[in-house]
């Protein structure tokens, strides 16, 4: 125990520390330095002044964001969509996982699981192409089918009311395989002795699912759902942007914080307001994730994020 404290530790761990340098630099550059850029939310940005040289304008950016009514609309949409996604996706995934576990045919199981996982692998751009195929007014498959049964074509891309349903279905479609695999892994790890004991006691298969599978799955469900709730104010930009794009007719029901921030930055070049909206989202997101983690901690310390 010679040497004194910090510097001798640095020497002792010098190789390990050197190996951390690229990673630390990466996150400093792309995560921590942008955090300092949050000051932009309180500034009137101009390119000559840059982030730190532009003049302050107090709370003007926030006032503009909130008084335009945009803040309420995008916050509501983001939260409501995420709640709908959490409920629908998890229920479907749990349902599929339980059935996959109980159904006997090995090949059937393999094929359905493989097919259900496929949408996870394609980009949102391709999903956008699929949506075009389905929803286009003139040649879209949905309208072809509607016409076949003698109904009028519907103008999906110009009707805001259809989109909540469409987006929930698309999200369910893309996430089904992914979530099912997570839940299936949890079911597979349930102690088989419990099942055997239930069988000896004469429980039928539905009682077994209700009394053994679901209660044993509960910790996984609660943790996955709580963590998803922690991200309730983060919209999936890829999804919303490729499904809806810059179609203003649909914004009332489809605009989320992420698409709003993007548009304000790139399309309308309102950099200060965009930064303010981004900052608002980060703070909301941080608060909900802390709350969610607190809840997970209370429930089961081992599964808390930190």
């Amino acid at each position: 125990m010679r040497g004194h404290g910090f510097w001798s530790d640095v020497k002792k761990y010098r190789t390990l520390l050197l190996m951390l340098v690229p990673g630390v630099l990466f996150f400093l550059l792309f995560a921590y330095i942008p955090m300092a850029g949050i000051v932009l939310a309180f500034k009137q940005f101009n390119y000559s002044g840059g982030i730190f040289g532009s003049p302050w304008n107090g709370m003007d950016n926030f006032r503009f964001f909130f008084e335009s009514g945009d803040a309420w609309r995008v916050t509501r949409n983001t939260a409501l969509y995420n709640i709908a996604f959490i409920v629908v996706n998890n229920l479907l995934q749990i349902f599929a996982a339980i059935l996959l576990f109980e159904v006997a045919g090995k090949w059937f199981r393999k094929i359905t699981q493989t097919v259900m996982f496929l949408p996870y692998f394609i980009s949102w751009v391709v999903v956008g192409a699929i949506a075009y195929n389905l929803f286009n007014y003139d040649v879209g498959t949905i309208n072809v089918l509607l016409n076949k049964i003698g109904m009028e074509s519907i103008d999906i891309y110009n009707t805001a009311a259809y989109w909540p349903v469409i987006l929930v279905l698309v999200s369910a479609w893309k996430a089904l395989g992914y979530g099912t695999i997570m839940y299936l892994a949890a079911i597979t790890s349930i102690d088989t002795e419990m099942y055997e004991a239930a069988e000896i006691d004469g429980a039928n298969i539905f009682q077994r699912i209700r009394k053994i599978t679901i209660p044993n799955l509960m910790p996984t469900i609660i943790i996955l759902v709580l963590l998803a709730i922690g991200n309730i104010f983060r919209g999936d930009f890829g999804m919303f942007y490729n499904m809806v794009g810059n179609n203003g007719l649909l914004f009332s029901s489809t605009d989320v914080i992420d698409t709003f921030v993007f548009r304000s930055l790139i399309t309308s070049n309102e950099i200060g307001m965009s930064a303010a909206a981004g900052f608002y989202q980060s703070v909301l997101g941080f608060a909900t994730i802390m709350l969610a983690n607190y809840a997970v901690r209370k429930y089961d310390k081992d599964h808390a994020l930190f």
Partner: protein, 314 residues
Amino acid sequence: MNATATTTGNLGPEVRMKSRKPKPKDRLILAAIGYTALTILALFCIFPFLLVISSSLTEESKIIENGFQLIPTSFSTEAYQILFKYPTEMLKAYGITITVTALGTLLGLFLTSMTSYVLARKDFKWRNKFSFFFFFTTLFSGGLVPWYLLIVNYLQLKDTLIVLILPMLMNVFYIIVMKSFMSSIPEAIIESAKIDGAGDFQIYVRFILPLSKPALATIGLFIALAYWNDWYNALLFISNSDLMPLQYYLYRLLGNMDGMRKAMMASGAVVNINLPTESLKMAMTIVATGPILLAYPFIQRYFVQGLTIGAVKG
């Protein structure tokens, strides 16, 4: 034990009678629900793909007349022929995507595994502090605007190949998964390597990397998929058409067929060519997704592996 009619389908009736006890009613009901529901869900997942494939193979005039349909009303490979007749733009996009995916995956995997190795070393005094340093970035961020301005104004990376690789190089989720895998490697291996005089970096290269092959394969594929499917960085930072990756090229094409026409003219197509717009969009979608669809059956299990490692400690 719980064999069903499908698995014993080719046995004669008398054999079946002997080898199986009658199925209880509850199991039959569950099997009926299970097979039906899972078949419906699987069809729900695969149906859009079939629709796009079929549309790409339908004659344009029939699409205009009847719309997209699940079964081609008149088969035609015209769209693919046109794509491959004037492939310059498409091949350029393929080239960019392959370059970005290859470089990004190699470099990303190296940095991710090296970082994870240090964080997984139980004798490293500051591992928790550094873990938190990385982890905190998933809790709080500066948002899109400062990040965007950093890359565009300060790093001046707009319209460079680097901007398609660098911002996605590392991801905390991958570090966590890799770290939890490496933590399960017995410490005795590191101890004995140390006694043999191996340095910390040597231990990583000679012992930890070879032992981490399953995790490297899984995370490598996750990184590769993310690069292959990336269009976001191109949307933000690329306006030079020579640097467009495949997905972004497809994105542009879906929204703007005129751009496609111009690109084709530039690569030598007849000026007033009548492009089969609708089937061409679908054919390009298939061409952009093709490699993933082909590789999918072989790589799928690595992703399943990754999800189940990740699920243990999200």
